[in-house]
Symmetry: C2
């Protein structure tokens, strides 16, 4: 039997045909035409299913179920996207619409929650029962598998960790609050930290890379230059590690996990970032909580969403994985 995992982001739609062992047999990726509205995007999603099946040299009849990972808050029982601020969607009947065109069992869940499930089943959380994951990106998303079970919360808003206040009079966040974790450790905060140092006249390899056009700086560029030894970039990554670390310490105190997984491109900054995170966790967390907890980078990269979506669909069907 085969499954389709689909990861719908603000930028791309990605579908993969995956077998029972978790192997990806074929996939399709396309730019999501969000600006054209939900109906067009739902059509693209079905197209991506068909393309992935064809790439996997499979047939539609081989597909036992489909899992869909999507940013936002959903009603996974009804298959409705209740609210997705990134997409501008409200109460979109995702599963009912898709099933008209593609009538197989389908399951919808939050992207970071499902990525956590993916890392737990196939990646950095494999073999553990208490797993917390965050993704560092524009915002900071979270998910948790507790006592071997993916948590969704009362209204499928579990682990919205990015809006945890960690500096009450800190910078204003997109949500309206001040000093949210993601306002201090999200993409914009990281770039702003670099720009401020460059505006102070600091010399840095960052300047040449973006041809003095600060707007083109990204956390990935900064992480890269930090690992090549650029002092300004190193400071930015270390300061970022401090702010990431405060939230990680809080979540380790709260969830008492065996493993804490950090995903998102910036997590690839490696030892420089993880060293700063661990120093902060050890300075601020409870030893009885962080002592038994490993802090590790995500293992599945961009595959976590599609793998987790399949795991979610299979769990909902009652299959043992």
């Amino acid at each position: 039997m085969l499954y389709i995992g689909c990861d719908v982001g603000g930028t791309n739609i990605r579908s993969a045909v995956i077998d029972e062992s978790g192997r990806i047999l074929g996939e399709a990726k396309m730019r999501a035409l969000m600006e054209k509205g939900a109906k067009v995007v739902l059509g693209q999603i079905v197209d991506s299913f068909r393309e992935a099946i064809s790439r996997a040299k499979a047939k539609k009849e081989d597909i036992r179920a489909v899992g869909i990972a999507m940013a936002g808050q959903h009603d996974s029982k009804a298959g409705i996207c209740i609210f997705s601020p990134n997409f501008g969607w409200e109460n979109v009947p995702v599963i009912p619409s898709l099933q008209e065109e593609f009538p197989v069992p389908m399951f919808l869940g939050n992207d970071v929650n499902l990525a956590t499930l993916g890392e737990w089943k196939y990646g950095a959380g494999k073999g553990y029962k208490w797993v917390v994951m965050i993704t560092l990106g524009t915002g900071i998303g979270g998910g948790a598998v507790l006592d071997g079970k993916l948590m969704l919360g009362a209204t499928e808003m579990f682990a919205e960790v990015g809006h945890m206040t960690i500096l009450p009079n800190g910078p204003r966040c997109g949500c309206g609050n001040h000093g949210c974790w993601e306002a201090l450790a999200g993409r914009d905060a990281i770039v702003r930290r670099a720009v401020m140092k460059l505006q102070d006249g600091r010399k840095s390899s960052l300047l040449k890379i973006v041809d003095y056009n600060w707007r083109e700086l990204t956390p990935e560029i900064i992480a890269n230059e930090a690992n090549r030894g650029d002092e300004v970039a190193k400071e930015v990554i270390e300061e970022t590690g401090y702010w990431v670390g405060i939230g990680v310490a809080n979540l380790i105190n709260i969830f008492n996990p065996e493993v804490f997984i950090i995903g998102g491109r910036i997590a690839q900054a490696g030892e420089l970032l993880f060293g700063a995170i661990e120093r902060t966790v050890k300075a601020r967390g409870l030893k009885a909580s962080w002592g038994p907890c490993k802090i590790v980078p995500a293992a599945l990269g961009d595959d976590a969403g599609v793998m987790g979506a399949v795991a979610f669909a299979r769990q909902r069907l009652g299959e043992e994985l």
Copy 2:
């Protein structure tokens, strides 16, 4: 069948004989002689069992199981208190020792976790599946029932919420960190807030009550005077509600509960405190998370520990409650 629930605090030991419907039939309370060491205290605990049985006019043979709620980190499978900073205990074999004198099935758990279970089974969390509880006292403890299951965490440190950093350069906490939630909203912080206002020369009914002896101020006295209209006390309770509220907002974002229970004596400050907490939660939390969540005071008061201890023992025996 009857059960014993025992709540061992730094000050008192309390045991209650409880029937299958959750009714307390008899109880014993005594001052815990912590200064005399674990052996003496364990002897007191057995005494409290016997006294409670006698008060309930029951026989030892009626007792199906015992649950013990105790501050600290435990190995509930082995019945060992791994670490209890309040008691100064490390690796004390609580259950094996007690069972020598009182050989019935016995189960040990963290006091706040078990109180959460008690509130869920019999109190403010009854009928819900997603419940978070905090207790406001010297420190801030936490517990959570998620998807209908009490969470213990990988090493039984679940929901150690009091040491969540919410003000990185804030006051130093007993744990060594700065700006822990309990350093801003725990007992000492509340009293300090009042003392500072009094030292500034503010007039207040608080002064007469403690006969100008600021050291005798307690959060309960302050809450009382606030409810009688004293301006200084009202300000202190409102400011406390702000700091409590930041942590509550964070935990509601993180756990997405249906109900958030606040226990501890200061929670009896009522509307003045809860109003300030709710304003902060609404200003700082995500509406999709706090919208569907009720914030309520604990319902069982001092009984939560003994009731939860019995519920814990019964769950461990596999009984459906």
